[in-house]
């Protein structure tokens, strides 16, 4: 097991290296200068700016410098925010996004799994249909519509919750719900499918024959096995939730990373794009590893040895 994890970590580093390199070169293909009003400056002035940020070197040299600095933990300085190290920017902005993502993930997974299990246990009854309906609607309507409607009716019309901004727990409720709609539907749909399948399998019949109570059957035997595909899907979803949603952050005025990232792409703020992307990639590979390890824990039939069979 330890050896396996070690091996995976080595792979992770290689993956990150490739992601960083590819992103770096792809980004350099996007035309336009990273500076505001660059074109109206005189040539001398342009050279001064390019020199300051080392943008006059050939791209491979820039790449080399960037990689060396990255290893040292220096992700460069933002172009759009004067004199702001990217690491500082990430630290400031990741918090709210991660909190929101985590809350949405937990809420979404719990509600989703409950809905899915209920639907499977009461297959083809009105409960099933209701759960399916909730799950389907949750992913059928774009989140900005949910967010917009909730903001207008719950916050503006009813005045139950604050309209926007990020100042305390009550400010996180609406964005969390809006963000949780998608994980709810994903979890519910996958859970139902898996549960239905598992409940029809031989070992459940066996458990029934042995007189296990239906609660025991659904929780101890079925749920555990049905969770695998759900975990596969929810893992990466958690990363994408935690790395911020432009739409939700923008509508609720959350000072998160998602909105910042999209803006950086639009203004060619290379260091911020790179830094954010590397952060996303790190999170993603870590979650992938965790998901793979979880397979083994949840389903003993899968051997973690990387399939040496």
């Amino acid at each position: 097991m330890a050896k396996y994890i070690m091996k995976r970590i080595v792979y992770m580093i290689i993956t990150l290296f490739i992601v960083a390199s590819l992103t770096f070169f792809l980004m350099k293909l996007i035309p336009g200068s990273p500076f505001n009003n660059f074109e109206k400056l005189s040539e001398v002035q342009q050279n001064i700016l390019l020199d300051k940020y080392g943008l006059k070197d050939p791209v491979p040299v820039q790449y080399f410098h960037y990689m060396v600095n990255m290893v040292k933990g220096d992700l460069g300085v933002s172009f759009q925010f004067d004199n702001t190290p990217v690491t500082e920017l990430l630290v400031n902005r990741v918090g709210p996004s991660a909190q929101l993502g985590l809350q949405a993930m937990v809420v979404g997974a719990i509600i989703g799994i409950i809905l899915g299990v209920l639907a499977a246990l009461k297959q083809n009854t009105w409960i099933d249909y209701l759960c399916t309906f909730i799950a389907v609607v949750g992913k059928s309507i774009p989140s900005f519509i949910f967010a917009g409607l909730m903001q207008y009716y719950i916050a503006v019309k009813l005045g139950w919750l604050p309209v926007m901004l990020w100042r305390g727990p009550e400010y996180t409720i609406l964005p969390t719900i809006a963000l949780a709609m998608f994980p709810i539907s994903i979890a519910a749909r996958f859970m139902r499918t898996e549960m239905v399948e598992v409940l029809g399998s031989d070992y459940i019949t066996l458990a029934k024959a042995k007189g296990a109570s239906s609660f025991q059957i659904s929780v101890k035997h079925a749920l555990r096995n049905a969770l695998i595909p759900v975990v596969t899907v929810l893992g990466p979803l958690a990363v994408s939730l935690m790395t911020g949603s432009l739409v939700i952050e923008q509508i609720f005025g959350v000072p998160g990373i998602g909105e910042q990232f999209v803006k950086s792409i639009n203004v060619n703020d290379y260091p911020v794009i790179m830094g954010t992307n590397i952060l996303f990639a790190v999170l993603f590979v870590i979650v992938t590893l965790i998901v793979d390890l979880l397979y083994g824990i949840i389903d003993p039939r899968i051997r973690i040895s990387g399939g040496k069979s």
Partner: protein
């Protein structure tokens, strides 16, 4: 009584002719896999109704724009932001087709009368005075196209990739999984922006960007399933019987995961439609005057409070398409999964 018994003589019985060759004969016409599945899908009324609705929507996506006298891109700015109004239904006030709008203070007024417009826009007009009915069907066309393309790629690349990766295992699996991580690691927004530069902005860069990154989740799910099945008895049995790797993957394993594949495909359809809507939200979507459900919903969202119908109509369409796809998917899943046969 006994006499009666006696009346049945032994010679009344003739031994049945047993043809050993016919002992395995099945009276019912033999059905192939798909016919069989269709039989089962048919039993699920919800799925059938949804299938019919989907077919109607697809037909309407092409026929709809022809039903109205207005073209999807004809602008009449004088008649912009008119609410829905339908001949015959305009006097039924509880229906939202009477051409009235509500002011901020809650009073209602008939926009057609106030602005002296003698026309019927069934679903109203947008801010350039374009007919939303025509745009809706045009948009449905485009969105379904994007969605089907994305789903197709998902199925083709995702399933194959995931199955091969999971089945072969070992180093190949490791490398293939790392490739997925790399692909997922590169933000698709960067890819979209690049595509817009390489190709002209429009539908193609969107599809390409979806294609490049969309299949990875399918591949991961399929791989997970293959890992699960790999050591199970039926696969071992097939192996022992000398089945080739290809036939094990495609004949034995994949039918067992139809359920999960179809569910996942059904997720890639809304994902595709939403990704396009998201691109519209940040301004990288389709080019004017073309419309998709994504751009329509997004445009409507901006007028959510002043002209709610501009958001509600395309939202209902998206929701309808999604619900139908899901219920059809459920029906198909139940029908296709060999373990679910009754």
């Amino acid at each position: 009584m006994t006499t009666k018994e006696n009346t049945i003589s032994k010679d009344m019985f003739v031994p049945a002719h047993v043809d050993p060759a016919k002992s395995e004969k099945i009276a019912k016409k033999s059905l192939n896999f798909w016919q069989d599945s269709w039989l089962r899908v048919r039993k699920n009324k919800g799925a059938v109704i949804c299938l019919v609705i989907l077919v109607v929507l697809i037909i309407m996506a092409f026929v709809g724009p022809l039903l109205t006298p207005y073209s999807y891109d004809t602008q009449t700015t004088k008649y912009n932001n008119l609410p829905p109004r339908i001949q015959g239904l305009e006097d039924v006030h509880w229906l939202p087709f009477d051409g009235t709008l509500t002011r901020k203070d809650g009073t209602e007024y008939n926009a057609y009368e106030v602005r002296k417009v003698d026309a019927y826009y069934w679903f109203g007009t947008d801010n350039l005075g374009r007919d939303i009915f025509a745009r809706l069907w045009k948009g449905t066309q485009v969105s379904l196209f994007i969605a089907f393309m994305a789903a197709l790629v998902d199925m083709l690349i995702g399933v194959t990739y995931g199955a091969v990766s999971g089945y072969l295992g070992g180093r190949v699996d490791s490398i293939m999984q790392r490739i997925i991580e790399v692909i997922v690691g590169i933000p698709n927004l960067i890819i979209v922006v690049l595509m817009i530069l390489v190709l002209k902005p429009g539908i193609i860069p969107i599809i390409v960007a979806l294609t490049i990154t969309g299949w990875t989740s399918m591949a991961r799910v399929v791989r997970g399933q293959v890992l699960k099945f790999k050591n199970q008895e039926f696969v071992l049995a097939a192996k022992t019987l000398g089945a080739s790797d290809l036939s094990i993957i495609f004949k034995h394993m994949i039918p067992n995961m139809f359920g999960i594949i179809i569910i996942n495909t059904m997720f890639s359809i809304p994902n595709a439609i939403f990704f396009e809507a998201f691109l519209s939200f940040i301004g990288l979507g389709l080019q004017e005057p073309h419309a998709s459900l994504g751009t329509l919903v997004n445009d409507g969202f901006k007028s959510m409070i002043a002209f709610p119908y501009q958001m509600i109509i395309p939202s209902i369409m998206i929701a309808l398409i999604m619900v139908c796809f899901n219920l059809v998917a459920d029906g198909l899943r139940d029908a296709l999964d060999p373990k679910m046969r009754d």
